[in-house]
């Protein structure tokens, strides 16, 4: 799957750019605040209909303009297809081969990307929610039924919370019986979500471990999902059910569900220490890179096609040895897009397919 041409109109500070790309490594070079991240963000937006920098999509439209527009042509073996995205203040239209997609969710899988961005540090240093989202996104890429399942889980959680809220105010037998019913439903959906997150952790763990240890030459590195480490629905359900029974009283006092997939966490452990709590900046960055490298490798293994890697800024805060080891770990056959303030910043040894200069929102190949 290769993005062979990419048109950007009125996206962030890019007024218009029309790029020809191919497999291989493409460098987008330019000083600060010229539009390098804007370009990367535009590709991500075409692929996933989300931005890594904002949830307010109108911020993506170039100031003073009404509509942002993106078009990419994607080559799958012999065949090619086009993705178009028109973005207005309160409206977004996505078309594949000129046909409007009924649901944004259907966009998934047409153009697979893995973004390495400064914001990835949040996966390590941020709240558990960031880590759960990382896992969820990784699962969604290979299991199209997962996002609907998550939505169902959230609904079950809301239903159960509503009963707990009521019991918090007045505790009665009828309410307790209803709680029993929603416990059951909540357990059903929790079990399914937990099983998939466990599986994903099990699949990712050895990949992340091997990438981390190669990048940092230290270890051992491991990953653990707090919802359980056995992907067996029977065991998961029983364990959660037992734990729920033990905390029943506090759940009623607090009027909320205190255990389950909405509370679980993904832990990164380096030499018996929690990376999120104890690691240095460099170690956290290395963990984030290892996660993305693992995600890319998994995507390739599951789909048979290399995802488009978008590498924005993340490597420059590492020392030269780690930077060198990073490039050794990256699949050099691409497709890969990397940003830098200059060619030199990348370090030696990379076979670049093309270099684009980014200046004041204009992009030219050089």
């Amino acid at each position: 799957m290769i993005l062979t041409s990419f048109l950007v109109r009125n996206f962030r500070n890019i007024q218009e750019a029309n790029l020809a790309l191919s497999r291989g490594i493409h460098l987008f070079s330019g000083a600060n605040a010229q539009g390098k991240t804007a370009l990367v963000e535009a590709i991500l937006f075409l692929a996933t209909s989300t931005s890594h920098r904002t949830r307010r999509e109108e911020e993506l439209i170039r100031w003073g303009e009404e509509v942002a527009f993106l078009r990419g042509v994607i080559q799958h073996g012999e065949e090619s297809e086009s993705i178009e995205c028109g973005l207005e203040k309160r409206k977004k239209i996505i078309k594949i081969d000129k046909r409007t997609l009924p649901r944004v969710g259907d966009l998934y899988g047409h153009l697979r990307t893995v973004l390495f961005a400064p914001e990835d540090l949040q996966i390590i240093a941020g709240s558990p929610q960031e880590r759960r989202r990382f896992l969820d996104m990784a699962i969604a890429q290979i299991d199209s039924a997962y996002i609907p399942l998550l939505q169902q889980f959230r609904r079950a959680l809301n239903q159960r919370n509503r009963i707990l809220k009521r019991l918090q105010l007045t505790k009665n037998a009828e309410g307790m019986r209803e709680l029993g019913i929603w416990d059951h439903t909540f357990l059903d959906y929790s079990t399914q979500v937990t099983r998939r997150r466990c599986e994903m952790t099990q699949v990712l763990a050895p990949l992340v471990r091997s990438f981390y240890e190669s990048l940092a030459e230290e270890g051992p590195f491991s990953m653990k999902y707090s919802g359980g480490d056995e992907a067996d629905e029977f065991i998961i359900r029983e364990r959660l059910q037992n734990r729920l029974e033990r905390i029943r009283q506090s759940e009623i006092e607090r009027g909320a569900s205190l255990l389950g997939p909405h509370r679980d966490d993904l832990q990164f452990i380096l030499a018996d220490k929690n990376v999120s709590v104890f690691a240095s900046q460099g170690q956290r960055r290395t963990t984030a890179l290892a996660l993305r490298l693992a995600e890319a490798k998994l995507s390739f293994e599951k789909t048979g096609a290399r995802p488009l890697l978008l590498i924005d800024d993340v490597i420059y805060e590492m020392d030269n040895t780690r930077r060198g080891r990073f490039w050794e770990q990256v699949d050099q056959s691409g497709p890969l897009i990397v940003t830098a303030t200059s060619r030199e910043q990348l370090g030696p040894g990379l076979q670049l397919t093309s270099i684009f200069q980014v200046h004041n929102g204009e992009i030219h190949s050089s």
């Binding site: 169902q152 609904r155 079950a156 809301n158 239903q159 159960r160 509503r162 009963i163 009521r166 009828e174 019986r177 209803e178 029993g180 019913i181 929603w182 059951h184 439903t185 959906y189």
Partner: protein, 208 residues
């Protein structure tokens, strides 16, 4: 954005009677303002007699249809023909969420027992609890000699929770409780299931 100069009436062609009908139609589910207007104009094109027939039908809908005090279904007699037991197996009771579900099940021709309509499924976030679905009324009906209760709530999260709840409250009465099979697409409404699927779901119902 079209600019509208101030002080001018921009609906010189406003026809109050047409708008009144459109407004009423637009209140119906699945009908937006545009569709409502289209329907109104379609009505206008008809002969006056036909509109009067529609008025007559609507009038009868409002005045002659009532809810059966026993099962909760719509009918023109109370109790409804099914509850009167004419030619029905009065030992089996099928519990559904909506009156439309009864129509769907009747169309399969595979069921000949009685019905009970809950009117909703349990859903705390929508404020629907056991009281709102009339559990007491259902339990009262089970004083009659009923041998099997078939739970035919929708295969949605709320429909399943409702079935589970009913099974629990009926259990102490030692009546056989079954749930129609999961052949139905999960998350869908019974009303839209095709006849073959629904008939199959009935014949392979499982004891709870």
């Amino acid at each position: 954005m079209k600019q509208q100069p101030a002080g001018r009436d921009f609906r010189p062609l406003s026809i109050p009677a047409v708008e009144a009908v459109s407004r009423q139609l637009a209140k119906l589910p699945g009908i937006g303002p545009r569709m409502a207007q289209r329907l109104t104009y379609a009505l206008l094109k008809r002969e006056k007699k036909e509109i009067e027939q529609l008025i007559h039908a609507l009038h009868s809908l409002a005045n002659d249809v009532l809810r059966c005090a026993v099962c909760g279904n719509y009918a023109q007699t109370d109790p409804c023909p099914v509850c009167k037991g004419e030619g029905r197996n009065t030992k089996i009771l099928c519990v559904v969420e909506q009156p439309q579900d009864v129509q769907a099940i009747e169309r399969t021709g595979h069921y000949n027992g009685l019905y009970h309509i809950l009117g909703a499924a349990l859903s705390p976030i929508d404020g629907v609890g056991p009281e709102e679905i009339g559990v007491t009324k259902l339990l009262q009906r089970l004083n009659d000699p009923i041998e099997e209760v078939i739970l035919a709530t929708n295969p949605t999260m709320e429909g399943d929770a409702t079935a589970l709840y009913l099974q629990e409250v009926i259990k102490p009465l030692h009546i056989k409780v079954t749930r129609i099979a999961r052949g139905l697409p999960s998350g869908s409404d019974l009303e839209y299931a095709d006849e073959v699927t629904l008939a199959l779901a009935f014949s392979s119902r499982a004891e709870m």
